[in-house]
């Protein structure tokens, strides 16, 4: 492959991933509303199009027509910059998550990942920690006390949960011996899923992912009863939509990371024993990745409408006194497994 072919293929991959992301985000919002309604014995939006299937587009159109307000007390530049940071981080993170095995299309061998970086996991962790700047800037620059409190809470929460998240990832890295997401997926061949091998790490990572994406029960940065709207109290129109988009895109990334690190990524156990053709196998593997991700996303929504919000001290207690020791225990557990079974 010459340089032009590589560039064209990469651009196509970026376009495909971005399209999938944006569509998933909009339908995630739709499903969040429908599922929450079903849980509360309601029907949810079902008027726009068949069963409300066009509702996301109506929502975006409405937000576009809203007036863009920035408060007098706000720092205009940072106030405008914050949603861009949030959206940029949310969408660029997805570049390293593989959605399928290598496939051959028109004679080209293509990896189903935008960038096969050998420090992929580190890249995701680094960028998601950058994402907190979006929220903190938004909270600080709005010139409102509610926003400021929301921003401070989000940064404190991120710091507390990033620790246990990092240590739970440590267990995965020990098993795979690599930071590359593709190598991690390939290390989970068969039923060697990390969720089965190291269940404690799976639980701590999932809980930390909830906290990192600011989802209930950890959505303290935007706790409505206390902080009005938290860090995005002073945002309207498409700037608000930016945060909204980023929140849901972060959910997708968290789901993608959980699937990649703990649920075997695109692997389907023993699919090569079935003797299917290469294309069918690849399609089934890509499909399995999306099914797993959908299940995790459903779990995110399901939890949000079941469990009440934590109090702030409970959140900190859980983060430092429970999650952190548990993730350390997980690392010791994985190290012991490797030592005993020579994995």
């Amino acid at each position: 492959m010459n340089i032009w072919e590589i560039i064209i293929i990469t651009v196509i991959k970026i376009g495909a991933i971005l399209t999938i992301m944006l569509l998933t985000v909009s339908y995630l919002v739709y499903f969040e509303r429908r599922i929450s309604a079903w849980i509360q014995s309601r029907l949810g939006p079902n008027r726009v199009g068949w069963e409300g299937i066009l509702q996301p587009f109506a929502d975006v159109f409405k937000l576009l027509l809203k007036e863009d307000i920035s408060p007098v007390a706000a720092n205009k530049f940072i106030h405008g910059l914050a949603p861009f940071i949030a959206v940029f981080v949310a969408f660029s993170t997805y570049a390293v998550i593989p959605i399928g095995p290598d496939v051959t299309i028109f004679g080209y061998s293509i990896q189903l990942v935008v960038a096969d970086v050998n420090i992929g996991v580190l890249y995701v962790l680094a960028l998601t920690s950058l994402g907190v700047y979006g929220l903190t800037f938004a909270g600080w620059s709005s010139g409102s006390k509610y926003s400021l409190l929301g921003g401070i809470r989000s940064s404190a929460q991120m710091i507390s949960y990033e620790v246990s998240m990092g240590f739970s990832v440590g267990g995965v890295l020990l098993m795979a011996g690599s930071l590359s997401p593709i190598a991690i997926v390939e290390a989970q061949y068969g039923w060697m899923w990390n969720a089965i091998v190291q269940p404690i790490g799976f639980i701590t990572f999932t809980v930390a992912a909830f906290a990192e994406t600011n989802r209930l029960p950890f959505d303290l940065p935007e706790a409505e009863p206390e902080l009005v709207g938290g860090y995005h109290t002073e945002y309207s129109s498409m700037k608000f939509a930016g945060f909204f988009l980023a929140e849901y895109a972060n959910m997708i990334i968290a789901a993608g990371m959980i699937v990649t690190l703990y649920l075997g990524g695109w692997q389907v156990p023993y699919i090569d024993k079935l003797g299917l053709g290469e294309i069918v196998t690849a399609l089934m593997q890509v499909g399995s990745f999306f099914v797993k991700m959908g299940a995790i996303l459903f779990f995110f929504i399901w939890v949000r409408w079941s469990i009440p919000r934590f109090r702030y001290d409970q959140l900190m207690n859980l983060g430092w006194k429970v999650m952190f020791p548990l993730s350390l225990i997980n690392i010791v557990w994985v190290a012991a497994l490797i030592m005993i079974f020579n994995l």
Binding site: I39, Q40, R42, S306
Partner: protein, 164 residues
């Protein structure tokens, strides 16, 4: 549930917090498949019970004459000053009738005092809750809109007889 436990009485399983989370998740999952309570309004309309206080209407007897004798009590008792009655004389047995009877539906607060005070059971609250007008003039309901045949108000009249 029911019995309040103290922190020191919790077992290790209780302190783990996870069983309760799974219980909660199971509950919400079950309720996802329960029948929904939503009524899809323009297609399905809510049929109120007899005790419902919708817009006040004047009772029209079978012979087409209103029951009202234009005593003006309703207009007097109305806390929102929404009712205006102008009386006139008539050859009929009741001797007086309302020449005009107007209720300003912007002012009406649906308290039902007019119905309560009426000596003739001539003004009652109906089940009608769909009140739409696009300007202030339309909101003043005259006799043309207020008169409702008695057979349509049976529910309410019976309710008043039993419980008033």
């Amino acid at each position: 549930m029911g019995v309040k436990k103290r922190q020191k009485d919790l077992t290790t399983l209780d302190k783990l917090y996870l069983p309760e989370i799974f219980k909660g998740l199971a509950l919400t999952f079950k309720s996802m498949f329960k029948p929904k309570v939503t009524m899809e309004y323009p297609e399905v309309k809510f049929e109120p019970p007899a005790s419902y206080r919708g817009r006040p209407v004047l009772v029209q007897e079978e012979n087409g004459v209103e029951r009202c004798v234009a005593c003006g009590l309703c207009s007097r008792v109305c806390p929102a000053l929404a009712i205006e009655v102008r009386a006139n004389e008539t050859e009929l047995e009741k001797e007086r009738y309302p020449e005009t009877f107007e209720i300003n539906m912007i002012r009406c607060i649906f308290c039902g005092f007019c119905e309560e005070v009426c000596p003739e059971e001539a003004i009652v609250m109906s089940k009608d809750y769909e009140l739409v007008f696009t300007n202030r003039e339309d909101a003043v309901y005259g006799k043309d809109k207020l008169l409702v045949p008695v057979h349509k108000l049976k529910d309410r009249l019976e309710f008043l007889r039993n419980f008033k």
